[in-house]
Homo-oligomer: 188 residues x 6
């Protein structure tokens, strides 16, 4: 926390709630760090709590999508938006979960260059189209996902993950959020 | 609730929690309706709760931005993304809060055609640039907001509101969310 | 005519020709107003006459397209160009002719969200593609219209209407034309 | 008139009005040809008359813009829209009026590569911005024209010419209008 | 060589190598001129030699593509990039090789308006897509070329020619390279 | 060389010239590998030699730009074009030459997020504008480089490097060139 995590002068609260402290400790135990996005939100407990709740529900709760698939969506969307923070943090997650560093690089650089199963190609095509031209998504796009084996609940989860990172990418860009240094070397 | 609120077959839970029922009742009392976006999320209590918490924190909690300004950001961003749901729902909010139907139309159609105070023009220029080309936002853009009188906390709120509607617009597009009919006639 | 109808200092002629006066009176009788676009052109009788002749031929003369369909094209094209004047004026016309305010809103906000008959969807897809990427229109696009039941004369009319509003939208933008206030409340 | 002038099966009327015949004869006398765009419109006298009236008012009537300047706008706009018909016909006009074939090529290929007087550079920058992003034209753009010496009436004429070719380019694209062969060799 | 061939102050070497002089003489003999691009590179023998070697290998060496087809690719790509230098020089080549000035104009203005054999349409569609959105080229695009009769070696040549002009167009734009005047009148 | 280096069936020559073999051996000695791009070109000695000559002249010959600066241009341009091959290979080069893995990631993901000296920011802004909209490069852009301390020769080198990777990125995309696996772990 020595160098600033963002370009706005909104330092973390001097005293965080016990729940937040416990959550940050859990991050340190599991990841070895508190993601800088959380430190950025920590100027306001309510905003931080809202972000954590939505994030965990999307990325960690039960879903027809694997955790790796959700991270692939995060990275493919972040590549559309050229988000340095999210490509660093979630690129690391794809490398870790896939145990395939080159695969992580492909998703971050151009998912179309990756050797994807048809199901996953459809999933990322949908996520990227939703990011680039949301007004052109239509029934045909949902049908393509259903034909690739996704349920309506899965479609919700693909959409919600892609939509969330379109928010998060912009939040990071707006305040120049800096990723933790540790991400870069992870799972290389 | 007779015609479907979205294109996915994810009906609301047959039985909602007492907290959710109370919240929906509060909506009916204050707005005369339960916004369809809430009905859409109501297939899952946790997702619904996460959405409501983040939404209310952004749009209703204390902020250096007025509620009207936050709604103006919602509408200008939704115009970039051509989001029918959000333009209908938040266009109504701008008309209601500004008591100026023509002003609401301008923000929804082309905010650059609206007679805006310099502060609000900077605010919407930032929100729209963040929506269209997030990777090009830089210190100069934040400086322009500071020069227009916004604090760093205000900048966070502008960014967070614009980012949120970039999520919400895409969620609505992905599932073809339909706005409540009542919005169209509101505050005309 | 008290507040200016555009940003250029080109006031209407002090004395209009009897033909123009008669036409303006006809507008007042039928619409309750003289559309501001006519007031804007009224600094020059020849330019005004040329505009009125082409406009009436396109929008009112016999055609395989209904008047509502022609107004739908006007609005869908104006949404591409984010033209405040034309969305206000022709949005009102779609609401009036369709007697369906929500339908008018959809065409103005994102025609892809509207429940269109296949014929009308093809018509608007053609008009919007012609607006966005005219150089990519080809025989396949004309064939799609023919397959949807349009004659070659109908195709001309679709093209001419879409092309006209690509002119009119830019004229309105260039001089910051302001729509009559009355449009906003019409047929809500 | 042996090979078709467009892709629609809308042949010219078997018998044209005496006025139209006289006008076509005037074209043959002055230009050595009847421009194919007129032949295309000649399936309907009213539409043809409307097109000719507006075209002549714009391109030939008195104006603060020279005829060459109006043709330069026509060509720069047609380059944005990649309109084969208009680049052929109006490119020939720029070559003829400027007596500088290389200059005509530059305007047709990339007007930014042409050695333009500041006045004409501003004029074409405005025309091209109006063509590409009409919703972003604002007071600053009109001020730039005024600073370059244009009157408000001149601004109208620049706007009207640019707007007209945004219509005409799309009409030509929609029906695959073919330019007269003679244009290609003119003023080389 | 009296007027400058580019906007950078990098004059040709006072003394060129005998090989370069011989090559320039060959150009004068065959084309009647030394192309200005060579004069521009002539400030450095190594850079000039590298450019000539790659250019000649691409445009003149044996290939499944005719020389005209390679020039068509050069022009269609240069139209995407609005490159005045390359459209002038290679437009002349297409006119000369095809002996059809109107055809050369079509490729320079909008290749989609040209009456192309299916093989050549596929070839140019590939070259233009590769220019506009290289990250979206995939196996389906290569398959389309194979189905149109191209071998894998032909595909390499199409790609290499299109890629080369994406370089050359940008080099010309960056230094404002001016084409030799003689090109404009060639093969009209 | 066991898995294919590209999607075209153009295997390397069974027997390479002694010069090429020597060059490949030099690559193995210095880099520990023969870059797959060379293997891809090795189906034809003349094309391979042309590529190597131009590449080495650009990236290794004396220049006012450091080797790191040239690699930064390579990566920033490849990010515009989302080129997996070049981002992998030249991203590794930026990490190696800068000895700063996080810096390499920034240039690959969004160079605007990197803490660049003004000189280098101008350099990359020029390279990226030249990649995205070459037709809009003008004297003002060259002036900005001169003001940042670049000579005309430096400007040539910036332009030539950026232009080259616009070629190379497209070649890689067109044939689906695969980077050597070793790049991914380099200098992490």
């Amino acid at each position: 926390m020595s160098s600033p995590v963002m370009a706005l002068d909104l330092p973390p609260l001097a005293e965080l709630s016990p729940e937040t402290e416990a959550y940050f400790q859990k991050c340190r135990d599991k990841l070895g760090l508190v993601p800088n996005v959380l430190t950025a939100y920590a100027f306001d407990e309510a905003k931080l709590a809202g972000f954590i709740a939505m994030y965990n529900e999307l990325m960690l709760a039960p879903s027809g999508l694997t955790k790796l698939e959700r991270e692939m969506i995060a990275v493919a969307v972040s590549a559309v938006n050229h988000c340095f923070y999210c490509l660093a943090a979630h690129g690391a997650a794809v490398r870790t979960l896939s145990q395939d560093p080159a695969f992580g690089e492909m998703i971050a650089m151009n998912y179309r260059a990756a050797p994807l199963a048809p199901r996953q190609r459809e999933m990322l095509d949908f996520a990227v189209k939703l990011s680039e031209t949301p007004d052109r998504i239509g029934e045909a796009d949902r049908t393509a996902l259903r034909n690739a084996g996704f349920s309506d609940r899965d479609i919700w989860d693909i959409a919600a993950t892609a939509a969330f990172f379109n928010m998060s990418n912009r939040m990071a860009a707006a305040v120049d959020m800096r990723p933790n240094d540790a991400y870069h070397a992870l799972a290389r």
